[in-house]
Symmetry: C2
Subunit: 333 residues, 2 copies
């Protein structure tokens, strides 16, 4: 049961964009089509979220995260307590600077860090050192992904392709915070979990508007050229990539496409198969306990030859490959 | 810094009896003195709790625990979820028996098992197999300890000296259940914790009365003959064992006695000292997060020569010694 293909993937909890390779806006859309949720694109191509410009949001969030992560990193390590999950720390960032925050060219804002001690613990568990996190998130401008989720969420990606910052609704942010104790339990008991990695939850407050964001791992860093990508829900009802998706350079296919392309499923070594089915079962039980049902399994297939080449080259070129590596996992046949 | 003494101990969260070596009642006390809280002793020496006889309580609880632990042990292992901490399972035990419970000679009763999946996880973490737990708790009659806590709690001890079953008030049982997620977190992060080991939380319901009990480890199994015992609170206000305590064969001394007996403290190897101070600090932070302040550190000192003799003899005589071994730990000097 040795495969000439490699399957890679993870469970998509909160929706992540399914295609991240088209950073330019689709000019064929009409102006009206360009408003989804709080995200708007004006005629000049300027993107706003809750009427705040992308550059302002990204820059302020980078300052906020820089301060929040730096300040918690300087505090001594200690055990995580239940109370830490409910904690919120708020800091003011006047444009003129303060004795703890730098001066900046954006509008005055406030920045809330949710459960900072808990997220420090999670980052540590995921092997992300504070200095690496800050370098990735705060050092260079982020870019916005062009295809927002159906909910109107906006996705910003760090320049090094490591992290995604996703806007979340008020209710979603609250929900995420209540899930943290259960999330902690799952990470402890089920370290091979395929559930998303959460690195932080924040709220940027400016001109009376709240922009809540969570920081997640980027499942599809652009340097990995996948042969095929599938977003699987385990349903066959309308689960087919549409024409515009298929026209893309790296389309994300769905369940019916998978059945069509791989009628016999994918072959995996017996041990890999059983270990991963167990992980998926455990993950599904956790999602069920959270009463979450709108999730899918993101499956990437790397052609075997491509994988060998990429591994050799990328391991040297990109020392972060090890961290980025998507977990090999099975598909139901 | 090598000591000729061995210090052993653990943090006493909920109060445990400080002397377990006098199973006979103190006949000098007047009848009136013999009612503390819900515990009464009548003129014939019969002990009741909430007007239910000890034999009835013990026998019913043993049946209840036998069923609860047996039934959860037969269910497949799975990850612990947040919801498991809040779970309660109730079973009826009619004297005539039912299709799931045996017939018995006690009054009909109901039995509630709180957070059974969580306690199965804890027992497993503490290395207690279900069959060993059932053998210890349910196989032979338990005895009641003669010196109830100040709160009127009653303590039953298993025949093999392994476990203590302590009655707890309604509020205390509720509180214990709310602490379980934090307790789980502490066990995961701080496996050398000196906090009490909890193996189960139950409620026996009979004649409209609720008797809530928790099952804990017995810190002072009688086969270990300690040279000295201290109950330390870190306070010197009235912290002296009274005359009647001192008359006992194995008295429990307090802070002022310790300062008197060991003016220079106890000598421990540097590594042991620092490791244990760290554990105590972490434990205290957890207790603080639980807003618990009425706890003490139970310190047992085993004379070095005695310890050598005991270790050689008892290791063969009592294979459970390893499990019972009290953790060596430091005292502030």
């Amino acid at each position: 049961m040795v495969s000439d293909e490699q399957a890679t993937g993870a469970i998509n909890g909160p929706k992540t964009p399914q295609n991240q390779t088209f950073p330019t806006l689709d000019r064929r859309r009409t102006f009206q089509e360009r408003k989804i949720g709080h995200r708007r694109v004006d005629e000049t191509g300027q993107v706003t979220y809750k009427k705040i410009e992308t550059s302002q949001i990204c820059g302020s969030i980078q300052l906020g995260i820089g301060y929040a992560v730096g300040s918690i990193a300087s505090k001594p390590e200690r055990d995580l307590l239940m109370q830490d999950f409910a904690m919120v720390e708020t800091t003011s960032f006047p444009a003129s600077g303060s004795n703890i925050t730098p001066a900046h060219h954006f509008t005055d804002f406030k920045f809330k860090a949710y459960a900072p001690v808990a997220f420090r613990y999670f980052r540590d568990l995921f092997g992300i050192a504070p200095e690496d996190f800050l370098l990735s998130v705060c050092n260079e401008p982020m870019r916005e992904l062009s295809n927002p989720g159906a909910s109107g969420s906006v996705f910003y990606i760090t320049a090094d392709d490591e992290f995604i910052i996703k806007t979340v609704q008020h209710k979603e942010a609250e929900f995420l915070q209540t899930l943290l104790p259960g999330y902690y339990m799952n990470l402890n008991q089920n370290p091979r979990t395929l559930l998303p990695k959460f690195f932080g939850l924040y709220c940027y407050i400016c001109r009376g508007k709240n922009v809540r964001v969570c920081v997640m791992n980027n499942l599809l860093p652009s340097f990995i050229k996948l042969h095929q990508k599938y977003d699987l829900k385990g349903s066959t009802f309308k689960r087919k990539a549409n024409k515009s998706e298929k026209r893309k350079g790296s389309p994300t296919f769905k369940d019916l496409d998978f059945l069509d392309h791989h009628p016999e499923g994918l072959y995996l070594e017996a041990e890999t198969y059983s270990a991963l089915m167990k992980t998926i079962n455990r993950d599904c039980r956790v999602l069920e306990s959270f009463k979450i049902m709108d999730y899918s399994l993101l499956v990437g297939i790397l052609g075997y030859q491509v994988s060998i080449r990429m591994t050799k080259r990328e391991k040297f070129k990109n020392p972060k490959w090890k961290r980025n590596k998507l977990i090999t996992k099975p598909l139901t046949s």
